[in-house]
Amino acid sequence: MQRLSKGRKLLKTFLRNRTSFIGACMSLALIIIAIFSYWLAPYDPLKQNVYHRLTPPEMIHIFGTDEYGRDVFSRVLTGARISLFVGIVSVALGMIIGTMMGMVAGYAGGKLETAIMRFLDIMMSFPDEVFGVMVMIVLGPGMLNVIIAITILMIPRFARVGHAPTLGIKEMDHIVSAKAIGAGSGRIIIRHILPNIFGDVLVMSSLWLGTAIRLEASLSFLGVGVPPPTPTLGNMVRVGVDFLASGPWVSLFAGLAILFAVFAFNLLGDGLRDITDPKLYAR
């Protein structure tokens, strides 16, 4: 009973907090557009019409056409879906694997902890773009590989989020007593530790979803992203900057979509942090 009312209270705060509310609306809109992009897109995003290249926005192509005469509006919608898919899947995977690793390391302690955390530290000592490109060169281009690369980049971040609080939580009385009555480690981690850090993890997921979408664009720019003709927001911007004089609309709309998406998730994350951070919440 008490838990439910606490949840309701949180939801109320969430809705009242302007940042999180706007962020949530933007994110939701984005996700809805992405899910229904197939039905919303007026044209096949892959359909080429080379006789109708780089035409400016007009009634039949509201965002204009690209260098193959494809409809930019349809491509932005589809691209948003794919970029969002790549972002969400890789952040989710990174979250699951990373948080688990962090919690296990924190809970187990000793050599295992040192080994895991040292290794993750080393992975963090490469800048994202550097390590991402390297992974992509090894795996080769492709959507699945982009997901793998971003997941690998996300793992150490989430591991840190999972690790630090675990250290404190595992010394708490109810955990110690649970251990005393013989609860298994797995059970303790899932039932007792995870709920305590879930808020943090969720906040960071939202923030890093923005990072993931931006990373997809960066990898595309470096020539190792999702290969054409599949549209992603990143590779559309990449290709579009080559036609800034004859068709600025090609990169403009995809660029705005990236901005919108990253902005939305960051806003949502900020808002979530405001309400989950008890210090700020108190005021």
Partner: protein, 546 residues
């Protein structure tokens, strides 16, 4: 809280901006030509290894050959380091008479010296050494002799026609003359400090940035009009474009694509050069893989494709259809009329104009009434991927589903050479019809299993190509043609060979695609730029900036 004002921030920002901005943009008005290539860096400036467009762009400023391709036109040879040459009656001995007073560029503390037959012999001997040259195969079985200071003899094992021999002596690849003393003095360092006899002298190499050359005051064809040439390496297309727009660059390499040409032409003060010879795009079918062992399947693919649509995809300003394996304008090619006429005479079809119903019928005959599916690797590089995307789209309409796995460019080349593709798109220029036919169609060149595996992806010469159950080969024709001295007869044999290839549908010639560079309109090449083997505009003593 009045100490930190946003307005203060803005004032500082503007101040900083102004401090930096007082200098005018360095649209330098000096007489130096700045050209940017689509590459991250040089690979090798030793002319006998340099094979990338960006390397050749530098190498051809610095080196020269005995004879040279007429600037801007690869159809003709003119004398250069050699003033004249003659061939003995048996066709085995070629004698070159060198120009006098050709000075090798100065290097380090050495002031340079006069180039003599000793250097020429040294250079060719080095070009024939597999450890010192990537083109050793071209010079196999040749001997080089210095008769006197200004006379060099080349002695062949078997006579070669002028059409096949002169390119080996010309200013391209192994034919570029490296001076003995400089090479021996610089050793390993020669590949990043090239020393030659050309119109420009190497001055400095800044890794990942540029190569600086200055004019060769003592150049034997006359002092160059430019003070120097700087060659930049800029792998990002839009950066090159911005550089050209801001006048920091005079010439930039472009991708061969219509939208890029249109984009450049939309800029003020910029002109686009489209020049040959161009790369021929051909589809090769792997007969060692089912179902491409079946001639009906191969013909079905040929009928499913419209050359015009592929050409339009690349752009009509850049690409044109080709109808034989040797592309127009290379000697030995077949024109559309020749192919059409021969077909009519023999009641056969060598042209394979698009006919999707015929394609479907052929597929059904071959046992694929519902179409077929195949998986191929494709490079991510645009010049291959762009036409291939269109090819895939066209084949789909005929019921042929090509599943594409995109890999990076080196991997693509690795995989197709490892016999992994069923259909191979290959875009390239080869110096002669003989080289092309040998590399792609001789049984020695079969990938993996051949004696000298290169690019015979079809397994031609190892498999049955026409469906009669016997192995088919064109090895004999290729070898016969190579040894013919009369270039007319030679061309005739090449043409016959290609009719066989077309009949067997082992490969499908699609397009020839030219090269594109954009320049500021005050740059003048000094010659008519129609075609060049180095795939970038040659900058020579006549090139100027108005």
């Amino acid at each position: 809280m009045k100490t930190i004002r946003p307005s203060l921030t803005i004032v500082i920002l503007l101040g900083v901006l102004l401090c930096f901005g007082v200098q005018p943009t360095s649209a330098a008005k000096d007489n130096v030509l700045r050209i940017a290539f689509d590459a991250a860096d040089i690979t090798d400036l030793h002319p006998h290894f340099a094979h990338t467009t960006q390397d050749r762009g530098v190498v051809h400023l610095i080196f020269s050959g005995l004879v040279r391709y007429k600037p801007g036109d690869i159809g003709e040879f003119v004398p250069d380091l050699a003033e004249s040459w003659e061939v003995s009656r048996d066709g085995l001995t070629w004698t070159f008479h060198l120009r006098k007073g050709v000075m090798v560029h100065p290097w380090k503390n050495n002031p340079g010296y006069e180039l003599t037959s000793e250097d020429v012999v040294y250079s060719f001997t080095s070009a024939a050494d597999k450890n010192k040259s990537a083109w050793a195969g071209e010079y196999a079985g040749m001997q080089f002799k210095a008769i006197d200071q200004y006379t060099v003899q080349v002695i062949l094992e078997k006579p070669l026609s002028e059409l096949l021999f002169l390119p080996k002596m010309a200013d391209y690849a192994g034919g570029l003359i490296i001076p003995k003393k400089a090479v021996e003095d610089l050793g390993e360092g020669f590949k990043s400090h090239p020393v030659g006899t050309g119109p420009f002298v190497f001055k400095k190499y800044l890794p990942k940035e540029k190569v600086i050359t200055v004019r060769n005051e003592k150049f034997y064809r006359g002092t160059p009009k430019l003070d120097g040439v700087e060659v930049f390496y800029m792998p990002d297309m839009s950066s090159r474009k911005f550089g050209l727009q801001s006048k920091e660059l005079d010439v930039i390499e472009g991708p061969p694509s219509q939208p890029w040409v249109d984009e450049m032409r939309a800029l003020r003060g910029v002109e686009v050069d489209v020049f040959g010879p161009g790369e021929a795009g051909v589809l090769y079918f792997n007969m060692a893989k089912k179902p491409f062992d079946d001639i009906r399947v191969r013909r079905a693919i040929a009928y499913a494709l419209s050359r015009d649509e592929v050409v339009t995809t690349i752009g009509k300003a850049i690409a044109a259809p080709v109808f034989s394996q040797i592309p127009n304008p290379q000697p030995g090619h077949l024109t559309r009329d020749e192919v059409l006429l021969r077909g009519k005479l023999e009641e056969k079809d060598y042209l394979y104009e698009v006919d999707r119903n015929k394609a479907k019928k052929l597929l059904a005959d071959a046992g694929f009434p519902n179409g077929l599916t195949t998986t191929v690797f494709m490079t991510e590089r645009g010049e291959y991927a762009v036409p291939f995307q269109n090819i895939v789209a066209q084949l789909r309409e005929a019921g042929i589903d090509v599943k594409v796995t995109v890999v990076d460019h080196p991997t693509y080349h690795h995989n197709i050479r490892a016999d992994m593709n069923t259909i191979v798109e290959y875009n390239c220029w080869r110096p002669t019809a003989d080289v092309r036919l040998t590399h792609f169609h001789h049984s020695d060149s079969i990938v993996k299993t051949g004696k000298k595996p290169i690019t015979n992806f079809m397994h031609l010469g190892e498999k049955d190509a026409n469906g009669d159950g016997k192995v088919d080969s064109v090895d004999y024709q290729i070898e016969v043609a190579r040894d013919l001295l009369d270039s007319g007869a030679q061309k005739a044999v090449w043409k016959e060979t290609q009719f066989k290839l077309l009949d067997w549908a082992v490969s499908y010639p699609l397009f020839i695609k030219k090269f594109t560079f954009a320049r500021r309109n005050n740059v003048q090449w000094g010659y008519d730029l129609k075609s060049t083997l180095i795939l970038s505009p040659q900058i020579n003593e006549l090139t100027s900036i108005k």
